[in-house]
């Protein structure tokens, strides 16, 4: 039984230049307690998928498909009904911890607001819960720091507060949208370790959205690779890194510099990302793919397979 089931999700934006096809018929499931990575480069649609789950898409977005959570389609819920899901059942961690926090509110108030709203706690109980949450994310001296404003914290500490906000109602699913991209490596390592500890303690499912394959390798059970708003490959993380079966995944892994292995040239993927102003009629990666054949430029491959699913017309053996 899956916790969240995204089916045939398509997101388009009407812009001055035309319709941008940001996400093109993407389907996936997340099981309870599972750690899943959504990997992709900028413009691949990974953040838009998370925003659509939370009902936070921009006004010019048109969404189709279904996002099933506890038997309900989140896309059809009213704002009131969605507000009961947000933070309580599904919470989000945003990329930039400074703009995710309200600069005019003490961090304590931003935490207590959530439990007062969702669990009907009184002021004193809510404050106790907020201090507990801040202690859970290892903020030293939480009892006093609760009355500080966001600007009084460092970037890493702010991100801990954002994580505390996401965790305070113990939701079943956390969407972490590039939670460490704005942070230094030493802080990134601490935050990822913290997320990992909390995840195993509460058995929360996590959808980690990132472009950093190093972070994925250290954290996620399963990885999903997006390109041009289309799912290219999904596989258990170990298999994905050991034997990537899609040409794009292969290209991506070869392009990442590894600190432990500096030998040889980085192999770049030639070309540039696709123009998403046109509706998708063929594989979005065909123009940059070294293994593309004529058929790839006319047919749109479907995602097929068991443990490893791939959307590619060429058999794995034929890939270079």
């Amino acid at each position: 039984m899956s916790l969240l089931s995204v089916q045939d999700l398509a997101i388009r934006f009407s812009t001055g230049d035309g319709t941008v096809h940001a996400v093109n018929n993407v389907s996936f499931d997340i099981a309870p307690g599972e750690k899943v990575a959504l990997v992709g480069e900028s413009g691949s649609g990974k953040s838009q998928i998370a925003l659509s789950i939370m009902g936070l898409l921009a006004k010019n977005a048109q969404v189709s498909g279904r996002i099933l959570h506890e038997g309900r389609d989140l896309l059809t819920l009213s704002q009131d009904a969605l507000n009961k899901v947000r933070a309580k059942k599904i919470a989000m961690i945003f990329q930039d911890p400074m703009s995710a926090l309200n600069p005019y509110m003490r961090v304590g108030r931003q935490l207590t607001e959530i439990v007062e709203l969702h669990e009907g706690l009184g002021r004193a109980d809510a404050r106790k819960r907020a201090i507990e949450a801040m202690e859970a994310v290892q903020i030293p001296d939480a009892k006093n720091r609760i009355d500080a404003y966001p600007h009084e914290f460092s970037g890493g500490m702010r991100q801990r507060i954002v994580i505390a906000m996401a965790l305070i109602c113990k939701p079943g699913l956390i969407l972490a949208d590039e939670p460490t991209t704005a942070l230094d490596v030493t802080v990134q390592a601490q935050i990822m370790r913290l997320l990992d500890e909390i995840q195993s303690e509460l058995n929360t499912a996590v959808l980690l959205i990132t472009h950093d394959l190093g972070v994925v390798a250290g954290f996620c059970d399963r990885s999903m690779v997006l390109y041009g708003g289309r799912m290219m490959e999904t596989a258990p993380t170990k298999d994905l890194f050991a034997a990537p079966s899609h040409p794009y995944t292969r290209g991506l892994l070869r392009a990442v510099p590894n600190i432990n292995d500096a030998a040889g040239e980085l192999r770049a993927i030639p070309g540039s990302p696709p123009n998403q102003l046109r509706p998708l009629t063929h594989c979005p990666f065909a123009a940059r793919c070294v293994d593309a054949v004529e058929q790839c430029r006319s047919t749109l491959p479907e995602l097929t397979g068991e443990a490893t699913k791939r959307a590619c017309l060429r058999p794995v053996e034929a890939l270079s």
Partner: protein, 324 residues
């Protein structure tokens, strides 16, 4: 080993700030951004500079390029000390030292076409060429970095980030420089595009015999492109050495902590990050003794009292009393 093309000795940069003053007429406080960095760059080699945000790595190369004025220390370019107060000296420096910036789009003038962007330094610095030769140079450079001729009259906003960075590289190369200072040139780019730009820089370096100083926070990229690596913390030098050896056997406690935190794109490798306790010192008020003392797992009384000197041994320079 050839003679160094650029040597920097005890370079210091401080900025005045109003922050932390009691009264508007109180004297300005000083932010100590770079605190005595010495390095030498040999012809055709690449020096990588790494460190966390705020460690002064960008300020260091901006000071070398003369974009901020160093407050102390000397920079020697091809055997001649540079006087940053003299306009002639700075112009001569620009002829030999060019910079590539972090934000590829913001570093190009939005009101100039690509052709104008690349030909401006050509006109300014390549007076030795006649106009046709200058045009040909612009054409060749853009062609070399992979911008198609049909796009020469377009404006920067019409290009992607990766293409803008290529244009920035072509502009830097237009004066035929000897040294390229790269300030996080690929951190704004996607992985697949990042590799294209890194490879392009390496190819150009081999073709034109350029020397590079490559600043980045991504240790994987720095390791890949650099011959030597310099590790900075709070504006000071912690460790410097040949890049393979430094990554394999870091000797300074800060380098060790930094390297242990780098995520590895291989699920079979278990990363055990070494967590640094303690707070960063304020750059307004640097501690006596070692800059890293407040977070160092190995600190002892000696670290508070005296600043460790940068000691060289076996091609490695380490500033630590208790280096391994």
């Amino acid at each position: 080993m050839s003679e160094p093309i650029l040597t920097v000795e005890d370079l210091k940069v401080t900025f005045d700030t109003r922050q932390g003053r009691k009264w508007p007429w109180s004297p300005m406080k000083k932010v100590h951004a770079v605190n005595g960095v010495s390095l030498s760059l040999e012809r055709g080699r690449t020096l990588g500079v790494v460190g966390e945000s705020g460690c002064g790595k960008s300020t260091l190369i901006r000071a070398i390029a003369g974009l901020v004025t160093p407050t102390g220390g000397t920079v020697t370019l091809e055997g001649r000390a540079v006087d940053y107060g003299s306009r002639a000296d700075v112009l001569a420096l620009r002829h030999k030292v060019q910079m590539i910036f972090q934000d590829p789009v913001a570093s190009l003038n939005p009101r100039m076409t690509v052709r104008e962007i690349v030909s401006e330094p050509t006109r300014r610095f390549r007076g030795d060429l006649d106009p046709e030769a200058q045009d040909k140079l612009v054409h060749d450079l853009l062609d070399r970095v992979g911008i198609a001729q049909r796009n020469f009259n377009r404006y920067p906003h019409e290009f992607s980030g990766g293409q803008c960075q290529r244009i920035g590289i072509a502009r830097a190369l237009a004066v035929n420089p000897k040294i390229l200072l790269c300030d996080e040139p690929v951190s704004a780019l996607d992985v697949s595009i990042q590799a294209q730009v890194v490879n392009l820089l390496r190819e150009l370096q081999a073709e034109m015999g350029l020397s590079l100083i490559f600043v980045a926070h991504d240790l994987g990229v720095v390791r890949h492109i650099s011959d030597d690596i310099l590790v900075m913390y709070m504006g000071g030098m912690m460790e410097k050495g040949e890049s393979d050896a430094l990554v394999r056997t870091p000797r300074h406690p800060y380098t060790q902590a930094l390297l242990s935190s780098v995520p590895v794109p291989d699920p079979n490798v278990i990363v055990e990050p070494q967590v640094l306790e303690g707070d960063l010192p304020s750059p307004l008020n640097l501690p006596e003794g070692c800059l890293f003392q407040s977070r160092c797992p190995k600190r002892q009384d000696a670290c508070k009292a005296t600043k460790p000197a940068l000691l060289a041994a076996g091609g490695r320079e380490v500033a630590c009393h208790f280096a391994e």
